[in-house]
Symmetry: C2
Subunit: 360 residues, 2 copies
């Protein structure tokens, strides 16, 4: 089996940074996942990242993820035991050995959590994920569009409680797992969406963990060589700068466990005299400039600190921060009608049709 990259503990820094960029303002802070992954790699050895084509068609691939608020686990989960518990319990339930670990969500905390399981089990980690970004609900994965069931799913908490879910749809998995996660204290660990190598080859968004690593590397090297970090990221991603401005006003409320709201910006430099607005529901989902809708989900909207290029989450938006907003093309799978139904602006309650920003 050809190894794409061997990921050591120190490599997790870049991956977490890249995961925060693809987190598009949400997805949870990768910090705790990074710490868990570093701990696991130091203890059990490095992780082998492989291309999905290295797997046999009948191989068994299982994604793992954290659900809810990772901050809740900061002090409770130094070893990743619950992730491995969920993974092993699902393996036992399926009655066959799992051949590779997969990432469910390359943006936010879940860009790093699969490394914990890969390190602890010695299994290869597939370079790819089910979103190519972050989204707030667990049915929002390309896997759903390929008919992959989220269940049987195992959900574990840090107390020793576990659930096995079998549901009639991935939307029902989300509802029941969300309710359990809230009850468990706001955070839980999942093993779900088991699939064969053949299905995974079609269903995943490829190369996203390598992209995370490269994005982190790009920012780090720009800083070291005094190159403008935002420009470096823009070039690397094929992104477009959609605004440069200061946070003027933030309206934030918690609805159904999600951080919803919007932030308004006043332009600076090349955007002086213009206004900008970001709507978020955990992730940044819609951008308006001068009162006109510019970019919506599934296209990616990510926000960087103008000076450092450091990715900024919706949670971290503060009055006066000088930020640069970027738009990135989403994976083409999201742009078909099934993808738009799952994650388009109307699903999130915005009364607007999706228009691909990069084709407009």
């Amino acid at each position: 089996m050809k190894i794409l990259r061997t990921i050591k503990a120190e490599d997790m820094e870049d991956i977490a940074t890249g995961g925060a960029i693809l987190g598009t303002g949400g997805g949870g802070d990768p910090y705790i996942g990074k710490l868990m992954a570093q701990e696991a790699i130091r203890k059990h050895g490095p992780v082998n990242l492989i291309d999905i084509d290295e797997l046999a068609d009948d191989a068994l691939v299982v994604p793992v993820a954290m659900m809810g608020a990772p901050t809740v686990m900061t002090e409770k989960l130094p070893q990743g035991d619950e992730l491995i518990n969920a993974f092993r319990a699902l393996e036992q339930l399926l009655g066959r050995k799992i051949d590779a670990v997969l990432c469910g969500e390359a943006g936010g905390v879940n860009s790093t959590t699969p490394f914990v399981v890969a390190a602890m089990t010695g299994l290869p980690l597939v370079d790819g994920d089910g979103m190519g970004r972050a989204y707030p609900e667990l049915q929002m994965v390309t896997f759903t569009m390929h008919g992959v069931s989220a269940t049987p799913m195992v959900l574990c908490d840090d107390k020793g409680n576990s659930l096995v879910l079998n549901t009639v749809s991935n939307a029902w998995t989300e509802r029941l797992a969300r309710a359990a996660t809230v009850e468990m204290g706001g955070s839980a660990l999942l093993a779900f969406y088991s699939m064969t190598g053949a299905v995974a080859k079609k269903a995943i968004v490829r190369g996203t963990l390598t992209l995370c690593a490269q994005l982190g590397e790009t920012l780090r090297q720009a800083k070291a060589s005094h190159v403008d970090p935002v420009n470096a990221v823009v070039d690397k991603l094929g992104a477009r700068v959609i605004f440069h401005g200061r946070v003027k006003d933030i309206d934030r409320r918690t609805v159904g466990g999600f951080a919803r709201g919007s932030a308004r910006f006043d332009g600076v430099e090349e955007w002086k005299g213009h206004t900008f607005k970001l709507d978020f529901q955990n992730e940044f989902l819609m951008a308006e400039r001068d009162g006109e809708i510019l970019v919506t989900t599934p296209d990616l909207i990510t926000v960087l600190e103008a000076e450092s290029g450091r990715p900024v989450t919706a949670d971290a938006l503060r009055y006066g921060l000088r930020l640069i907003a970027l738009a990135l093309p989403s994976n083409p799978q999201w742009q078909n009608p099934a993808g738009i139904a799952l994650v388009g602006p109307r699903y999130f309650g915005y009364d607007v049709d999706y228009r691909n920003y990069f084709e407009a």
Copy 2:
């Protein structure tokens, strides 16, 4: 195996009436459970009620129950499929044949639901339950005091979703199952608390289904022979009349999915000039007379219509209804410190110690 009683469809009327009396104002209306049981018995044949001592010590016994609001299922559950699904799924999980069905809660709807599974499977139903009455939370069973784990538990809804829970305590089972039940639309079916015959012989409250049948029979015969129905029930139960009055005032609110509140009564006839107050949280949990606490959980408080002897739930209390309140001794298992910790007045937030009304 000696059969105590063979329960035919028409016998379910008496059992449901008795179940409503032991429901102590809560436990859900046995009506829907009765219909399900009658349907199952007509289709699959009568149910054999057995004494627990008929079972071998290594026999496997499994209780089944409905969780949440049975009214939600009135139109959705004519066949009891979800109950049998939960039961069969747990059997498969345990990897061995279940030998008998058990009743979790002899008061309210769950006095009748186990008959559905017994009829559909042809398995005997044990004469007894885990409460000898009704209580609102699933850890509130004598089984808990004997170290029986509620999990592995299977929880099914009417849509085809199912959950397997493994928890660190029965209180955690309650929390997670409650959250799932709410999300599933307010009602779910459970198979849980699997135990051996040897454990069940110690852990159950014996003879409660026969008691339900006898209570229903007593009321029915009193009506037929123009005997005072309330007196007939009082004699049958060894109960004490604690008040006779009219509902003056009801304060009802829904807190955390439970119907909480209190009702005030003005005395009539022998209690003229006296006042009475009932506090309920689904079930009637505390009775005060003339401003002094008289009876508290775990002692049973049940309320009958003065004329007909028909049991009245907390939901059905209406201004002007003439009612007779009874106190019944609880099973001695509830009166030890572990029982009081589980279901005593302080657990429900009443700032008072339990004092056995029948020893006072």
